[in-house]
Structures are given as C-alpha cells and as structure tokens.
Symmetry: C2
C-alpha cells in the first residue's frame, strides 16, 4: 500500500518555514539566515563554488577561465568573500612567480552539495519555466 503522506509533509514544511521566519525576524546583521542567504545568492559565488568543485585545488587564472565571463576584480572579491565565510581556503606559496591555490573547505563542500541540488532542480524544471514564460508573454500581448 502506498501512503501519500501529503499532510505529514505539509506539516513538516510549515514547521520549517516557521523556524526560518523566527530567525528572520531578528535585526540586521544579527540575522544569520538573511545574511547567509544574501551571500550565497550571489551568482558569482555560486559559479565559483561549482568551479572549485570540479578541481580539488585551483589557481586564480584557472578559475577565471572556468567561471565564464567573470572579471578579475569580481573573482578576487568573490574569493575573498568565500574565504571570509570559511567556504574556501587560500594557500599561498611564496615562490617566483607566485602561486596561490584555492580549494573548498569541508564547509564549502557541504554547501556545494546544496548548490548541486539547486542546479539539478533548475535543470529538471527548465521546460516548465520556459513554458510559463511563453504564457506570460502571450498574456501581456492580449492586454
């Protein structure tokens, strides 16, 4: 017998949302979720983490090639931000020419898992989204 435990799931989801909103109501910097989600939402962060997921370690210009379209400046900024939040480690070798190796920390790896799920979601629902966009366009043309 297959149990469609929709109601149970609904309850769990509701609870989760309530929890999120409890946290969300704290002020400014003190709100961790608002704060963290704002960071992760950044598109360059997402792509940089994905790129670092491909290589175990990567150097600056390697990353720049992988993350299509990112400028030197934004890669620097993004990497610093990720480092600051403990998602990426930065190993400097005092050689000439200088070498710097970036890698995901274990925390970063754990986030990578989340990113991949998001990416999978995006992939598997792209058709629905595309369809919705077409509908929306037509709707606008009618009025």
């Amino acid at each position: 017998m297959i149990v469609t435990n929709t109601e149970n799931q609904e309850l769990t989801i509701e609870n989760k949302i309530d929890k999120v909103f409890d946290m969300e109501h704290c002020e400014g910097i003190l709100c961790p979720i608002k704060d963290i989600l704002a960071h992760l939402g950044d598109k360059w962060s997402i792509f940089t983490i994905l790129a670092l997921g491909q290589n175990k370690v990567a150097r600056f210009n390697e990353l720049k090639k992988q993350v299509n379209g990112i400028s030197q400046r934004m890669l620097t900024v993004t990497l610093r931000s990720l480092e600051e939040n403990g998602l990426v480690s930065r190993q400097i070798y005092p050689e000439i020419p200088p070498r710097v190796e970036y890698a995901l920390t274990s925390l970063g790896h754990s986030l990578l898992g989340q990113m991949l799920q998001l990416a999978e979601w995006a992939t598997s629902h792209r058709d629905e989204i595309e369809e919705a966009r077409q509908n929306f366009k037509e709707k606008k043309l009618v009025f």
Copy 2:
C-alpha cells in the same frame, strides 16, 4: 557495519558538476541554469517564496508585512518575476476595493522545498561561518 561510501559520493558529485558545466557553457540567454540560478539567487525572491509558503494564499499587503524590509516597488517587481517564471499565481478579483491573491504554483512549491533545504543548511552551519569570520578578522589584524 557502516560503509562510508565517500568515493561513490565523490563520483556522483563530480558527475553532477560536469553536467552543470556542460549546460553552463552554452551562450548567454540560452543557458538555462545560469539564467534560472541568477533569478533564484535574488534575496527578495527567496524571502517572498518563503512567505508564500507560510500562507496558502496571501494578498499584497500581507506579503509586504511578512517580508521584512521589502519596499512596495520591489515586492511588485519580485512578484511579477516569480509569476513570469511560473512559480507564483496571481488571481485578481474585480471588486472594490480590489483584491489580488497570490499563491505558490506547484512548481513554486517544489522550489520552496529547495529553499528550505538551503535555509536549513544556513541555520545548521551558522556557527562555523561565524567562527570563520572571526578568524578572518584576526588574520587581517595580524598583517
């Protein structure tokens, strides 16, 4: 016996990443993942979806109260964008005073699940992140 199938998981993750990057290399607007992730990354979209997850349906000003700090303009823009992508439905009742009810579509609900996982991740790792930030600050002070 507990099997730590790290290697298997690694393989899966690698494969997933490669898949994402295959898609990512297509050009401009044609890249669905780049496109979709960029949308979802928007912080107002995230919070609006979470808010809509709390109520089955919600009216404009209800949402405005729930999504702490959002301006009228940005709520409008965000809702339109979500509607355009098929995540939110918009039901207009031609009454006076006018009434408009927003709700998550099934697609939106499915995305909500993903958002909640992200939020959970953020919650359960906030201490590590906070610690990383402290370390980073100190590191900067040393040099």
